[in-house]
Structures are given as structure tokens and as C-alpha cells.
């Protein structure tokens, strides 16, 4: 008998969440939010090499994420950066290499600027992977 009384209350609570929550907040809670993942490869002979170098990712002019060096294969060194929690829109993504040759760190190469219509025409609606290669 108890479950007969409790179940409607649970369902009503669930329904109330659907009805009363801010719609976008609820959708954020249910579905994964947008993420841009950036993979940077730099040709070592033309750049130099330092495991202390970092990359910074700016999305539409806003510096949103920085990552440290993640490895190399002798020819290229790699960084991987993710910018999560983006709302839908048109973004311009710019990657900077911060070469720690001296102090303070400075942006050496404003890298290739790549714009993507995010997410509609990307083919990967919620998560976009971008590759930046500097040879």
C-alpha cells in the first residue's frame, strides 16, 4: 500500500522538475555540454624543444585553457587541451605556444587560427576536435 502512495509522489516530483526547472539548466544536467578539444603538434627542428612549454587556447578572444606538454615522438611534440562547457555558437579558436626560453614566458607563435561553425556544420555536434600542426 505504501508504494502506491509513494510512487505518485516520486513521479510528481520528477514532473515538477521538468515543469519548474529552468529549461536550459535541466538540459545541461541531462546532456553533455559542448567541448572543443585541441591537439597541437609542433615540428621540433623548426621550433626548438622544451618540456616546459605550454599552449594556450583562446576561444573568440577569451583565453580559456592552458595545458602543459604531453609528449613527443622525436620529430613532433604534442599538447592536448580541452575547453568544456561551451554554449552553442560561432567560435574562433586560436592557439598560442608559450616558449619558456627565458623569463617571463611569452607567446612565440600565434598559431593557425581556425574558425569553425560550432556545432551545426561540424559533423560532431557537441564535441569538436581541432588539430593544429606547426611544421
Amino acid at each position: 500500500m505504501k508504494i502506491r502512495k509513494i510512487l505518485p509522489l516520486l513521479l510528481l516530483a520528477f514532473g515538477s522538475v521538468f515543469l519548474l526547472s529552468s529549461c536550459d539548466a535541466l538540459l545541461d544536467a541531462i546532456f553533455s555540454t559542448n567541448t572543443i578539444s585541441v591537439y597541437v603538434s609542433v615540428y621540433i627542428p623548426s621550433y626548438g624543444y622544451s618540456p616546459h612549454d605550454t599552449v594556450s587556447v583562446s576561444v573568440s578572444g577569451e583565453p580559456l585553457a592552458t595545458a602543459g606538454y604531453s609528449g613527443d615522438d622525436g620529430l613532433y611534440m604534442y599538447w592536448s587541451v580541452s575547453v568544456p562547457k561551451l554554449s552553442d555558437g560561432l567560435y574562433s579558436v586560436t592557439v598560442y605556444l608559450n616558449h619558456v626560453g627565458g623569463s617571463p614566458p611569452f607567446a612565440v607563435y600565434p598559431s593557425t587560427t581556425q574558425s569553425t561553425y560550432f556545432p551545426a556544420s561540424s559533423g560532431n555536434p557537441h564535441n569538436v576536435n581541432l588539430d593544429f600542426v606547426y611544421n
Binding site: L7, L11, L12, F18, L26, S32, N124
Partner: protein, 201 residues
Amino acid sequence: MKKLLVPLAVVALLALAVPAAFAEWELGIGITPAQNQESTDPGAVDGILNFHVGYNWSILYASWDAFAMPSYWVYNATSYIDPVHGSYYPGADVPGFLNLFDVGIRIYPRPFIGYAEVGTNLLYLYGGQIYHDPYGNLGVGVNGRLGFGVKFGFWGVNISGTQVFASWYDLRAALDQAFYHGNTAELTAGSVLSLNFALYF
């Protein structure tokens, strides 16, 4: 007009033949397992949750359903090939809430239950907008639904299939593709198959 009157009369007679004591409310939730397992996009394999309120009087049935739709469903349901120009227009690639307002009939040959409904729908898009058709009109759509299941006293489970067109223009575009170009996939782009659990009062 006669064609419309005959089925209406049949429904009215059936409704009168069933005792009014059959009137009841129902409350439920449903889930659609992930449909697009082959996608490389993690966001595209989300399942679908829905919340359901229904009222049944005799065999007449009315319901409201709210579905939390993942972006791949919204994209499929709102993409269309323009019947006039033949151009492909990509849909909204965001999650959203689909609200269905349906009326129809429900029969209950114990313990089985079956229902058929048609109605209208509104699609809320992430970011605060209601979907509009390509001409900017409020995207009031159209849907049809069939369901079948079992009912055990105060609770039951059923499976429903709903075909949704996000707007009348989307319906027109889908029919054009199906009948003039043999592209029947457009007709089912907005389909939802759902497993539902319901309580009856």
C-alpha cells in the same frame, strides 16, 4: 464532411457504451535507449527521458508528454530538404524539450491496453527559443502516436511509437521527399520509440 462525421459518430457511440467509471488519470515516465550508437559524438548517444500526464474518459484519451531530446534528435527532426528549391537545410543542433499535446482513443481489453493519438507539438530549443519553421512562423508541429502495453491495477507498462514533425513545413518537406523522390527516411526522421511506466488513479 460525411467522411469525418462517420468516425466521430463511431467514437462517440463507443464512448457512451463504456461506463464513465473508467475515467482515470495517469502519470508516467518513459525512456528511449540511445538510438545512434555508431556516432563518434558522445553527445549523440544519449537516451531520451520523458514525463507523461494523461486523462482517460471511457475510450477517449488526452495526454501531455514532455521529452528531453538530445541534439541529434532535434537536428534530424528539424533538418529538411526544401520542396521548392531542393536545397538541404541543416536543423538546430542543440538539445531541447519536445512537448506533445495529443487526443485520441484508448482501449483496455484487460490486462492489455492500447491507444492511438494525434496532436500538436512544440519544440523548445536549448538557448531559450521555441523552434520556428523556415518562414519564421512559430513551429507548431504535428504528431501521431500508437501505444500498446499491459495494465495491472494501479500500474502498467507500455511501448509507444510517436512520429513527430517539428512544424507543418517539415511535414510538407518530408511528404515531398517520400512521394516525389522516394526518400522515405525523411518521414521517420522525427520518430521516437519509448518504453513507458505509468500509474493510474
